[in-house]
Amino acid sequence: MFNKKHLALLASAGSLSLAGMATAQADTLEDTIERGAVQCGVSDGLPGFSAPDDDGNWQGLDVDVCRAVAAAVLGDADAVNYISLNAVERFTALQSGEVDLLSRNTTWTTTRDTTLGLNFTGVNFYDGQGFMVSRDLGITGADELDGASICIQSGTTTELNLADYFRANNMEFNPIVFDTSEQTVGGYQAGRCDVLTSDTSQLAALRIQLDDPEASMILSDVISKEPLGPVVRQGDDLWFNIVKWSLFAMLNAEEYGVTSENAEEMLNSENPDVARLLGQDGNYGEGMQLEADWAYNIISQVGNYAESFERNVGMDSPLEIERGVNALWNDGGFQYAPPIR
């Protein structure tokens, strides 16, 4: 008798907590407004994507996504609590509700999108595996690397991609494997290999650690697809839309030439696209339960995609990564945002 009662009690407690979980997760927007800050999961330090600067403020391309969402939802790009997460715990932190948004150079793959109860909201950086070689070698493309000795960091998909690529192209290579990225750079610097391979975003960071960065160059060939993007929990479509359109707003702003500097003048723009983006013609934030100036807040406080890119990883940063495939669609790249209409 007691046992049955006990079980029933447990069961009801369990279902209650499950129900509690469902409602708590479905109202991410409400929770965020109540808290007054977006809980954003970022990397515990990745050059150009998320790292604290000298004053302790988080900076980076991934960080700007957090800031954009905070600007859209709360009107203040600084209203973000950054939670640094490592690669293992990032998904759990999102699933358990510790963070509302994961913006941590996470590659969009089928498994992650379909089996973890998570949704990718877009791509803020198209990454891919590339090569760094010494300029003296005179190599211009990855197809000339037959027989090269290549420095790799172990335990990453980099190794597999490399083997696949060389087998597919009927070429030979001699892998020299290191444990950490610092050792990999050290090995390359000491001349133990001709080529260093990693994701292109990492290569740029590795290159400036060399004694003479100018003596090495990054080949433009990319041998794998690594689309990096923000992730949210499945089952909260409103929040999903907010994060998705925060990034789209930055891309659209670049396309229409709206920057953080001219956003205020642009409020009077005659261009209907700009007027719709900045909330001067209709309220396109309504469907996301946001104010009409949601996109204006993003652009004026965080900037458009080009500004964010150049500031964090592009030519205005030490990394000097070229736009390449991350340029807008009408500029030879992949970045394409649906129109705000």
């Binding site: 907590s17 499950l18 509690g20 979980m21 708590a24 997760q25 515990d44 330090g45 990745l46 050059p47 150009g48 790292a51 604290p52 600067d53 000298d54 004053d55 302790g56 900076q59 609590n81 950054y82 939670i83 640094s84 997460l85 490592n86 293992v88 715990e89 759990t92 932190a93 699933q95 358990s96 509700g97 510790e98 610092e182 960071a205 400036i208 650690q209 060399l210 004694d211 964090n312 990883v313 940063s317 030490p318 990394l319």
Partner: protein, 366 residues
């Protein structure tokens, strides 16, 4: 017969047996083989020390505020300089540093008070340190009371966090460890079984696993309304882990006390707690000082593992700083600095324990 009634006056030692030259001959050059080894050792030292000094001091850059101020011929201490406050306080907002400073100062004062033998009221100070100081420290660091702005724990970091983790771990682990050690030696089967299981479980699992469980799995088990701060989770995991080790150290000390001591106390009519508190423990704890300090030092260094659950302790914040694209490539400087700070703390703990041993004369050398 000639009797010399005067004592022969003391004469100085023969010339060749005193002074630096004699010392050198006696300790470094007493024989051809030792002489060769001495010279070899000196040469190796020369090979190591000269480039290190060259790198760390002579060629080093000390002033500036960006990587352009570094010639890269030697160490770039500019990096450590620019990030120094971050290494100390983590991402704590700079206008609130004074709060952390007060806590630091109080902490240092308490330690000094407890360490310097001449100062009175040790007992009251200990009570203050254990009961009131944590509350003051929490109120100051966390804020949210008395108009102090809240600084949530994910902004805490640097040396501040390392000290916090280590001191909470030490202060928490000692009493729990004592209770567990007594429990393991107890005659009560349930208490004994519980203590054995607890100790063996926590000792059998690596600290990394415990931290991972606390940070990754626990939130999935708990309903989402209950969210335990990740720092608190790490603190609980660290304390329980250390208490298991502490229990075994203390049990080792308890074993060493002759049974007669306990039996004599019992014959005087003392209760269990009196026997333990007045007779057994004071003797045992004295003997356990090296073991306890050893555990403390290892705990202090183990705190760096919280880096893997995304907390920025001293080492973690150094690594985060290394990933700032404006400061890429200064990892050696960062790690040397972190190692130096850790060494200072561990070395002082070790010296203090040696002093305590001498003072309490635990070696029974008399």
């Amino acid at each position: 017969m000639i009797h010399n009634k005067e004592t022969i006056p003391q004469r100085p030692a023969p010339k060749g047996t005193i002074g630096p030259v004699a010392w050198l001959r006696g300790n470094l050059f007493n024989g051809p083989i030792n002489s060769v080894f001495t010279l070899l050792g000196l040469y190796v030292l020369y090979l190591l020390v000269v480039p290190t000094v060259q790198w760390a001091f002579i060629d080093a850059n000390w002033v500036g505020d960006s990587r352009e101020d570094c010639t890269r011929a030697g160490a770039c201490w500019v990096f450590v300089n620019a990030r120094f406050s971050q290494f100390m306080y983590g991402l704590y907002p700079s206008e609130e540093y004074w709060r952390a400073n007060i806590v630091f100062a109080m902490f240092a004062a308490i330690i000094a008070w407890m360490v310097i033998p001449r100062l009175p009221f040790k007992r009251w100070m200990a009570l203050f340190a254990l009961l009131i100081f944590p509350v003051i420290a929490y109120v100051l660091l966390h804020g949210g009371y008395f108009d102090l702005p809240r600084v949530s724990t994910h902004r805490w970091g640097g040396l501040m966090l390392t000290l916090l983790l280590a001191s909470v771990g030490m202060i928490g682990a000692l009493p729990i460890g004592i209770v567990l050690a007594l429990g393991r030696r107890s005659n009560m089967p349930i208490v004994k079984t519980f203590c054995v299981i607890f100790i063996e479980f926590w000792r059998g699992v690596p600290l990394i696993t415990i931290l991972f469980m606390a940070s990754v799995m626990l939130p999935l088990f708990l309903p989402s309304e209950i969210s335990v701060d990740r720092l608190v989770r790490a603190l609980i995991g660290l304390t329980l882990f250390q208490s298991a080790y502490m229990a075994e150290v203390i049990r080792g000390g308890l074993q060493a006390i002759p049974k007669g001591q306990d039996e004599a106390a019992a014959a005087l009519g003392m209760t269990y707690w009196k026997r333990m508190g007045l007779i057994v423990m004071p003797q045992a704890l004295k003997m356990m000082i090296p073991g306890i300090v050893n555990t403390f030092i290892s705990l202090f260094k183990d705190t760096t593992l919280v880096m893997i659950i995304g907390l920025f302790d001293l080492l973690g914040i150094v690594q985060a700083a290394l990933s700032d694209s404006r400061w890429l490539g200064f990892s050696i400087e960062g790690y040397v600095f972190a190692a130096f700070v850790f060494w200072i703390f561990c070395f002082s703990m070790s010296r203090y324990s040696q002093y305590l041993e001498r003072k309490l004369n635990t070696g029974h050398k008399h």
